[in-house]
């Protein structure tokens, strides 16, 4: 292992197709038109000295180090801002250039502290600068005190307000790389250069501390800084890293590639990897900085068991814990039947870890009671897209957005939940793409610096289908559909039938206006824009799926995309933004109770027989229980044992009281996790899990990209998670054995046609591939349905709007909807154990000023939120982001009990819970809810670990 340093070409790659040939230092080179001389030189291996240039932002020409001479041209132009031209002869090293560079460098160093260890020193060495003739006696930014003993007004103290990085203004050379990174790469515009001339300096916000500014702590500025003025605190503390490993972030479904930079066994920092297909060198506050949970003191590293959930936990050996779990599961099956136990796979675990859990359920448990946490987020995506297009996955790669002309963002909040992709979207929007947002809440993308949605349709929660049907209605009735595309690629009978349905007047924007709350004129205008504005791409999140009509809505969006010809090429598509790092993968791996890997039904005899041959055991042909069905069956008494891999169902699943009743009814709950999470309070066996830094395997992101997760350090609890699952299977009588996770992937490839060409060797060679990856597409498939749909002809589905039964009334007059914020992730098990709590220490209830006023609620007061299933207490945040009548909260902290309020309602097709619509009442409160009091007691009682008596040393 060495420290990986990517080549920095200095300026971005030109997209031009015309080529230009020139000569640099006597060598001929041919590059695309528009390439800078600096980049062309680097492609020859000639690194022209530079400080302000880097290849992920436009050239700027401020540092004046990259000067070159061009025969026949006057002066010494900056090579970063000068494009190549046919036949020119460039010289990068001459006496004149050497002297100029030394002079420039000397001036920089005359106002720069002599700290040695940074790119400034390297550059001084590169240009051959031996001595700096100027001391710090004159005007400078370096010394707190001037030569005359007075305080130096130019000197600024270090800003250490951000928990992860420090800003030392004395080291800054005002090259603007940080400012440009914030603008061009991240798109937040939190930084600027304030002042003029020698007084110019980098300013966060209105010359505030970084933490007080708009900074979102993505780390792009820190990565860009060439002088160490902006530097990770972990580097300041631990020193420069020595080795690095390329791996994949374990937070959201964007699946960013990172270099884990190490010193010995310590991670010094995570740096986004330039060649990462999903992120191309960018990051967010979670992936970049919030990895400290992996070594948090709360990590449990020893297996534990207990007879009853009221007993304290007892630490035992792995053999004992695995034996205990196997014995209990087998006893339960003997007593209550084969179908009385099951398992849940985790979207946070690797494909290989997920695959073995579902295999264990099907082979060692002998049933299909396996489900995954995707059930509660994107299961409608799988259902809806497979019915219409034939594949349970998004259609595009992320890069496709670069070619998009009209973005339709529905029920997603990319800047908070998928920030790295949001930066990419914002970049395209700044280039002129149009934006339509369907969301009850005024998300940041509705209006933020240099971004303004052309249409924000603030629909009432629960009316998605009505609005999207209305969009299609307008397109059909106004004749804006893509007739040739539909005729060529879609099923004519289904289309004709659907057209008759969608044309009906009750689907018109005018008819729907009173239901959706969206002005009909805006719906009409948005429909026209999407249909006629060029490449139209739909990006959507859980605001689409987590409804009683989640699957209908996915189909309605697919209809809309087919109707306008927006599937099957670059820049278009229907793109689910997946919540967790491996939601796509966990679904692909056969985690659903009715499907094997590759989405093949357990009732398909040929497929099942193939699996029976490979796995050498008989398999059940009946679909198993889905997660909500497992809870129902547990309360009913037919389901008694559950294996939970890395999911905190007691916190994340809806109607907490129902979930906890179900968990209490189980006779054996096995939890495999990093921490004693909320579900562990109801568990009998705890298998300590591995963090992403300890895993070896793959994650599949929202664009079907299979990325390698490489082991950065050894598992803290001594075993790979897949190994634990194999041993449990063996203890239950099914011989499951692998020597490595690579062998598991080989089996996945063997039994799954869409993964047939995937292997660790190929992933290591290519970096990543997007499935389908097989003989037909050996290097993967970035864009699907090119030339035709996977199912053959695209199928328009009839998507009648059926209102949810969850409605407001005089007892529950407001609608609660839930979501995420940038700094926290899902149930917060990881991010709450990092410095990210500095941004979000508690969940709050956002409420419209009018709704607050009529209830006498002031900002910051505690309020009780009550639904028909439960109540909790949160602090109120008065905000106009919500429409009147709608309140909003996040669910990152267990004590908040956000899911105590959400109900059992679910999507008709998949049982994905209806998190996004709950009728509630909000009242002032001065105490915790009963549930919160019970939670605090349980937190103490059910998570006790038995203290072993001290044994006196002999």
């Amino acid at each position: 292992m060495t420290l990986i340093t990517e080549i920095d070409y200095g300026t971005p790659k030109s997209k031009a197709t015309a080529m230009v040939t020139l000569e640099i230092d006597g060598q001929s080179i041919t590059v695309p038109e528009g390439t800078s001389i600096m980049r062309a030189a680097m492609e020859l291996g000639t690194q022209i000295p530079k400080l302000c240039a880097t290849d992920n932002m436009a050239s700027f020409g401020s540092c004046r180090l990259c000067l070159v001479e061009i025969e026949g041209r006057k002066g010494t132009p900056a090579s970063c801002t000068t494009p190549v031209a046919p036949g020119i002869k460039v010289h990068t090293q001459t006496d004149r250039l050497g002297k100029l560079r030394q002079g420039v460098m000397e001036l920089y160093l005359s106002d720069h502290p002599l700290t040695g260890d940074n790119a400034m020193q390297d550059m001084a060495d590169t240009v051959g600068l031996a001595n700096v003739r100027y001391g710090f006696e004159g005007d400078n930014h370096v010394s707190p005190v001037r030569a005359d003993g007075e305080a130096n007004p130019r000197f600024k103290e270090k800003d250490e307000s951000n928990p992860y990085f420090a800003f030392d203004p004395s080291k800054c050379i005002v090259c603007s790389r940080c400012v440009r990174a914030c603008e061009e790469v991240q798109g937040t515009f939190a930084l600027t250069i304030d002042g003029r001339g020698f007084a110019s300096h980098v300013s966060a916000g209105m010359d505030e501390k970084f933490m007080d500014s708009e900074c979102v702590s993505c780390g792009a500025c820190v990565q860009a800084c060439p002088t160490g003025s902006l530097l990770e605190k972990s580097v300041i503390e631990l020193g420069r890293p020595e080795t690095s490993v390329i791996t994949t972030c374990a937070y959201c479904g964007v699946g960013c590639s990172f270099k884990a930079e190490m010193k010995g066994e310590d991670v010094v920092r995570m740096v986004p990897w330039k060649d990462g297909g999903a992120n191309e060198g960018h990051s967010c506050v979670k992936g970049r900085f919030a990895w400290g949970y992996a070594s948090h003191k709360d990590r449990v590293t020893k297996p534990m068991v207990r007879d009853k959930i009221t007993d304290p936990w007892k630490e035992v050996s792995w053999e004992e814990a695995i034996g205990f779990a196997a014995r209990r599961f087998m006893e339960i099956q003997k007593k209550y039947g084969r179908g009385s136990i099951g398992g849940i796979t985790s979207s946070r675990c690797t494909n290989e870890e997920v695959f073995v859990v579902q295999k264990m359920v099907r082979t060692a448990f002998h049933n299909n009671n396996v489900d995954t946490c995707a059930r509660v987020c994107h299961s409608p995506t799988g259902y809806g897209l497979s019915k219409t297009f034939g594949t349970s996955a998004g259609t595009q790669d992320f890069k496709s957005v670069d070619e998009c002309d009209v973005m339709l963002v529905i029920g997603a909040n990319p800047t908070d939940a998928h920030p790295v992709f949001a930066s990419r979207m914002k970049k395209r929007l700044r280039e002129g793409a149009k934006l339509i947002i369907l969301d009850p809440r005024r998300i940041d993308m509705v209006r933020s610096p240099h971004i303004k949605a052309d249409f924000h349709l603030p629909l009432r929660p629960g009316t998605n289908v009505a609005v999207v049907n209305a969009l299609s209605h307008v397109i059909v009735t106004e004749g804006l559909e893509a007739k040739d595309y539909i005729a060529e690629r879609c099923d004519p009978k289904e289309f004709a039938r659907w057209t008759d349905f969608i044309r009906q007047p009750e689907n018109s924007p005018e008819a729907m206006e009173s239901i959706t709350g969206v002005a009909a004129a805006d719906v009409r205008a948005a429909a026209r824009l999407y249909a006629t504005g060029g490449n139209g791409a739909i990006y959507y999140g859980l605001g689409v799926t987590e409804h009683s009509q989640g699957s209908t809505m996915v189909m309605a969006m697919a209809n809309l995309a087919m109707l306008t010809g927006n599937v099957g090429r670059n820049g278009v598509g229907v793109n689910p933004l997946r919540g967790q790092n491996n939601v796509q993968g966990s679904c692909d791996m056969g985690s659903f109770p009715h499907e094997y890997s590759g989405y093949r039904h357990v009732g398909d005899n040929a497929v099942r027989e193939m699996f029976e041959q490979v796995w050498k055991t008989a398999l059940d042909s009946e679909p198993g229980l889905r997660i909500p069905n497992m809870f129902d069956a547990a309360v009913e008494g037919t389901f008694k044992g559950l294996y939970v891999q890395g999911e905190d169902i007691a916190q994340s699943d809806p109607n907490t009281n129902h979930v906890t009743h179900a968990l209490e009814a189980l006779e054996c709950v096995v939890v495999q996790d990093l921490f004693l999470n909320e579900t562990a309070a109801f568990a009998h066996v705890f298998f300590p899990g591995t963090s992403f830094l300890e895993k070896d395997g793959t994650f599949t992101n929202a664009e079907r990209r299979i990325n390698r997760v490489r082991q950065v350090k050894a598992p803290m609890q001594g075993k790979d998670e897949w190994q634990v699952v194999c041993e449990l299977s063996q203890a239950m009588g099914y011989d499951m054995h692998y020597n490595s996770s690579s062998e598991i992937m080989d089996e996945i490839a063997w039994v799954t046609p869409t993964f047939a060409g995937v292997s660790f060797e190929k992933l290591d060679r290519l970096g990543s591939v997007q499935w389908p990856c097989n003989d037909k597409s050996p290097e993967g498939t970035p864009i699907m349905h090119v030339g035709g749909f996977v199912r053959g002809l695209g199928r328009f589905m009839i998507t009648e709007f059926v209102p949810t039964t969850e409605r407001t009334n005089r007892f529950f007059p407001l609608i609660l909807t839930t979501g995420r914020i940038l700094s926290q992730y899902n149930v917060g098990a990881q991010t709450r154990r990092t410095e990210n709590v500095a941004w979000h220490a508690e969940d709050v209830l956002e409420i419209h000023p009018h709704d607050a006023e009529v209830r006498g609620i002031k900002n910051g007061q505690m309020v009780s939120i009550t639904s028909r299933v439960g109540a909790t207490t949160l602090r109120a945040l008065i905000s106009e982001r919500m429409a009147q009548g709608v309140v909003y909260t996040t669910f990152h902290h267990p004590v908040s009990g956000a899911n105590v309020i959400t109900t059992e309602n679910s999507d008709w097709a998949t049982n994905c819970p209806e998190y996004k619509v709950t009728a509630v009442q909000v009242t002032l409160s001065n105490q915790q809810s009963d549930w919160q009091k019970d939670w605090e007691i349980r937190e103490d009682e059910n998570k006790r670990i038995e203290v072993k008596p001290l044994v006196a040393a002999e």
Partner: protein
């Protein structure tokens, strides 16, 4: 599972397929139960039908003959 939950879920399925011509709706609804409902859930449905099917959407009652009966040892 509470019968009211089973009814809610079954009737939601009916609501979706009602948009289709009757024969197709019956077939698609039945296929949905066969593909996605675990045997004990289907057993619950059939037990409720045996008691008269109160509260069940007529489309589900009519689709029932096409829904696979679970084996006797289901659960």
């Amino acid at each position: 599972m509470e019968t009211r939950d089973m009814l809610r879920m079954a009737n939601q399925i009916a609501d979706f397929f009602k948009g289709y011509p009757r024969e197709e709706a019956l077939k698609e609804a039945a296929t949905h139960f066969n593909n996605y409902w675990d045997p004990r859930m289907r057993k619950h449905l059939f037990e409720h039908l045996a008691k008269g099917g109160e509260g069940l959407d007529p489309l589900i009652i009519d689709a029932a003959p096409q829904i696979r009966k679970p084996k006797a040892d289901a659960a």
